[in-house]
Amino acid sequence: MIKNLYRTVKNLFQRPSTKIGLGVLVMGGFIAGAIAWLGFNTALHATSKEEFCLSCHSMHDNLLPELQKTVHWSNRTGVRTRCSDCHVPHNFTDKIARKMQASREVWGELIGTIGTREKFQEHRIVLARREWKRLSANGSRECRVCHDYKDMDFNVMRPASQVAMRRAAERDESCISCHKGIAHQLPDMKGAHNPAFDTLVSAASGQNIEAGGEYFAILPRDLFTDPQMTQKIGLLEVGAKVKMLETQGNMQRVELDLWRKNKGYGRVWYSQFGLNITSAILEKTVSRDDNLVKVLEAQEDLLTGLEWQRVKAEVWMQAESLLASPEPIWSIARSSYSSSCSTCHRQPQEAHFDANTWPGLFGGMVGFTSMDEDTAKVVLKYLQNHSSDFSETAHGNDATKGAVQTARP
């Protein structure tokens, strides 16, 4: 059977033609080749059309309505951007490679990987990450087919755009490092997961814990009154310091020794007197409960006139979430800070601001970045804990002064 097939194929290619003239063969072959190429190109073109993209339900139901709300769908100049303008590479090799990658997407559509809106929302961060990686690697080449720095008149841009865009042009930066979510809703960063945290988790599971030692939380953790986790009484934040009391199975009793403002429920607990570095947030129901919370001393903050109380509580939390040193946490935060916050301006020195100023500044900026919620919290803690309140070389350092000024044209 196979041998037969082999012979047929061999004959087809090797037996010389006896009846059909050479010219006819060449012409026929040429015409056939031309038709085949034409057909191939038509197919390539057809599979780059918007209609083709939208023939899959997951694309039509999720991405189209989002795109339709943006300036790339309809604008005053009437230039419409199609899915393929942004998503299909324009040179042959990369385009073909991309089309082959689509085999995975066809398979996904068939088995319904993102068959519903919920599934899509859950999975889209993975997809978005791929596109971000691609667009960073090629310097957002697809965007720049339509708008490139060399053709931009920065003077007619909105004032808000000018500083950032001039600087981007100077460094010939990839558009996507600042313009994420330009065509679709951004993925829900809450569900996003910074893979760097995985190393912390494995470090924590190997951490040798001793009663009486001081440890730092690597992840936000729920707090309970008892090891059976019957009553949740609050949340311990990343980087918070606790004192180990005892371990029971996979639960640990720890002592919190923190500060709070003596007003309202007093549920937010800070790591130091006078500094708004949140360490724990207690439930309203227990934050004034004398059985749980012991007030050790009180002190007035002269700046705000508020009374601060040093408070102590013994609580239960899940094991394997503590490290003896906060340094591994800060090093993750540091790298996230320097990569995310240096795209528009040099990242300000940590010690250029004090711990109570950082939250406001950071909150105004974090929206420009793609940090997920957990990472953002850690980075803010990092900045506060390395702010001028903690640094001997605070202010005075000339290098820090220029940090933001250089962002101006």
Binding site: G29, A97, M100
Partner: protein, 57 residues
């Protein structure tokens, strides 16, 4: 070869067979091989992008 083409009937069958082969080669085999080769090329580039090159620049 020569002897088999003595009669007209054999000539027409030989003729027909040859045309059939030609059409098969030109309009079925050629496009298939072309699309196949490009697909293999595409998959190869994709594979290399995953393993070696990273995303295209």
């Amino acid at each position: 070869m020569k002897t088999s083409m003595n009669t007209t009937s054999e000539m027409t069958t030989g003729n027909r067979k040859e045309w059939l082969s030609f059409l098969l080669l030109a309009f079925i085999v050629l496009p298939t091989v072309m699309v196949g080769a490009i697909a293999i090329y595409g998959f190869a580039v994709w594979g290399l992008q995953i393993l070696v090159f990273g995303p295209p620049s």
